[in-house]
Amino acid sequence: MALLSQLFKRPAYHGGVEVYGPRRPLAEPITRIQPPETVVIPLSQHIGAPAKPVVEAGAEVEVGSVLGEPQGFVSTYIHSSVKGVVKGLVTLGRPGGGRVSAVEIQVSADQPERSSREVDWDRLSGFTPEEIKDKVLKAGIVGMGGAGFPTHVKLSPPKDKPIDSVIVNACECEPYLAADSRLVVEAAPELLAGLRLAMQAVGAKKGYIAFEADRVEGIKLLRQLTADFADVEVKVLPPKYPQGSEKHLIKSVLGRTVPLGALPMEVGALVQNVATLISIYRAVLYDEPVTHRVVTVNGGAVANPSNFLVPIGVPIRVLLEAAGWSEEDCAKVVLGGPMMGKTAPSLEEPVTKTTSGVLALRQAELGPTEPSPCIRCGRCLAACPMGLYPGYIAEAGIHNDLEAAEKAGAMACLECGCCAYSCPGNRPLVQEIREAKLKIRQNQQERKGS
């Protein structure tokens, strides 16, 4: 019956797709990865200005030592994830293009244990919003779902945009990824404490924890734990990609539509990722910065799909080896999920605060890629969660008709990939739209300049 009512319920938003792919690993506990001899910690793991390096070669660092300080408001701290000695600054290629400076650290043989943190509920309410935001900044917390937007900025909405609801994004809607879903199960009290602190920081009256319906274990656990909380509610949403998109989550949970070009605070909402909230809790109560994160290693070329707790800066090669990957079987290595993740530029690519997953995919999993002509089937339009006609925008972009592309809503595109995933002609729609957006943005800047 529940299924039937689900079937006939009007979806909260247009479009979205079911993505086929394994949702494992969930059952196995998160295991720790030991750092190799050196780690490389990028100074920009977030949106905004890179951090300014404050250590020099030869400096001794502990876990949590500051390596970089924020430059400006939209920026944040970078910390060491290991005990060791700074070797110097290096330059890294970024996935998707660009370059970034990073601190290379020689790792000491004796590494401290990572302490577990019992939740101290009584101390939570003692923190003022200012204290919370300051500790969040000092801990270098950024959106750990993938976007990497500095969290202290998100917690500081202007006075005329009051926030009434904080939503925990426990959707993890891309297949293959399971880091957050496992974290929910293992650190539920910390997550709830983090939610409490985020609500306190912005003065929100209500908290929601949003799951996709197939995350049964987490739903059950959080329902039990929140039974006594009048102001926190577990929301179960249909498993559909991109359910975890901020705008679509807000629409599904609160029924509010974020206007195009505006931020969630416009409708009184704040969305935070699971790992981010746990980091907030640890930062506020224990002044513990973000030095580690949970990473899912998965894909057809991986023998033992796993969730690892990884020090920031460890090369992905270490993770892939720990999960028993077959380099021979692997056709592509992806950082993040299979829909929005980027291909890894090298196996030495370090894990950052936003690395939710490392996927080693077989050729067979990638499916056909050779493009054929658009047959105007309309699948991209039906799939677009933003309600756009992606095929048209891509076509306009190819022909450099930027005005048409912009008018058709190119800038509203999330680059979620629903269109390209649905396209029977394997057209590289996301790439084409991304290029059109880039050109439109350049034009806008030129117009501003002149």
Binding site: S372, G387, E415, A420
Partner: protein, 304 residues
């Protein structure tokens, strides 16, 4: 090493549906109607279908390879065009006409515009309309089922006031007509399968058949005769739903379908031809850009 670190943009999972697979599924869904045609009209019908498909495939192959100088990819679309054209021809027609129609369909209906995805008009209907205008007599000479004699189609009977076949006959398909249009049962079987698979939009057949039914109710024509005779069911499920030549927007598809149903009825009732489905679809094909413009989707969160 270099092989693994292949750099490419997301999404990294390929589409579970492919153009070729869609085309072959359409061919599969046309099999019941094709078999019904052969069952009712005999071996001659099979020759017509085979000629039409073969001519379409060979013409497409030669054109792409030698005129456009490109590599030919077997996407199955020429098979669909050839088969659809064959199904709209009189069963007793000489295969020569099927051949001419298929060549016209592929070249004038499709390739001159740039091939798959670029043609504004349904290629099979371009081929059929070319034949109908050029060879009106052979295109309107109808063979009776299980018989070499000629007969009238239900629609010409309707126009001339002759005795109409029962709706059971119309549903089953043992009446005169184009070789793939007579069996409503076989057509619906294939069409409903395509809807079930999500390969065609239910709005289009619903709109075409629904608007034609309402129109006949208004004029006092028996609805079963309207729906079950002539090419309406074939057109509604298989011609009007052609992706390339129908709107992509859901609302546009409604308007497109309703337009087809109404124009068909106007031609049937007031025009010089007893049947008007092909013309109606071609006319509405021409309106597709306008319909899409009228029904352009609105982005989530766009200002009202």
């Amino acid at each position: 090493m270099g092989r693994i670190l292949l750099q490419s943009p997301g999404p990294h999972l390929g589409s579970p549906e492919q153009t070729r697979q869609i085309m072959w599924l359409v061919v599969l869904s046309l099999l019941p109607a094709s078999l019904a045609g052969v069952y009712f009209f005999g071996f001659g019908a099979l020759v017509v279908l085979a000629t039409s498909v073969a001519a379409a495939v060979v013409t497409e192959y030669l054109w792409i390879k030698y005129v456009r100088g490109k590599e030919v990819r077997a996407d199955g679309s020429a098979v669909v065009t050839g088969l659809l054209l064959g199904l709209t021809l009189p069963p007793g027609i000489s295969p020569l006409y099927a051949f001419i129609g298929a060549v016209v369909a592929i070249i004038l209906g499709k390739q001159v515009y740039g091939g798959l995805g670029s043609n504004p008009f349904n290629p099979a209907l371009v081929g059929r309309t070319f034949l109908l205008i050029s060879f009106p007599v052979v295109m309107t000479t109808w063979q009776a089922p299980w018989d070499a004699t000629t007969t009238a189609t239900p629609l010409s009977l309707l126009a001339t006031g002759g005795p109409l076949p029962s709706w059971g006959q119309l549903f089953w398909g043992n009446v005169g007509g184009s070789l793939g249009e007579t069996s409503v049962l076989a057509l619906a079987l294939g069409g409903l399968y395509l809807i079930y698979k999500g390969y065609i939009d239910w709005r289009i057949p619903t709109g075409v058949l629904g608007s034609a039914a309402l129109f006949s109710l208004a004029l006092g024509i028996p609805v079963t005769t309207t729906l079950f005779s002539g090419g309406l069911v074939l057109g509604a499920f298989f011609m009007a739903t052609d992706y390339v030549t129908s709107p992509v927007t859901p609302a546009g598809r409604w308007l497109f379908a309703i337009g087809i149903g109404l124009i068909t009825m106007v031609i049937r009732q007031f025009g010089g031809y007893p049947e008007g489905v092909s013309f109606a679809i071609l006319l509405m094909n021409a309106a597709v850009p306008l319909l899409e413009k009228l029904t352009w989707p609105k982005a989530m969160g766009a200002v009202q």
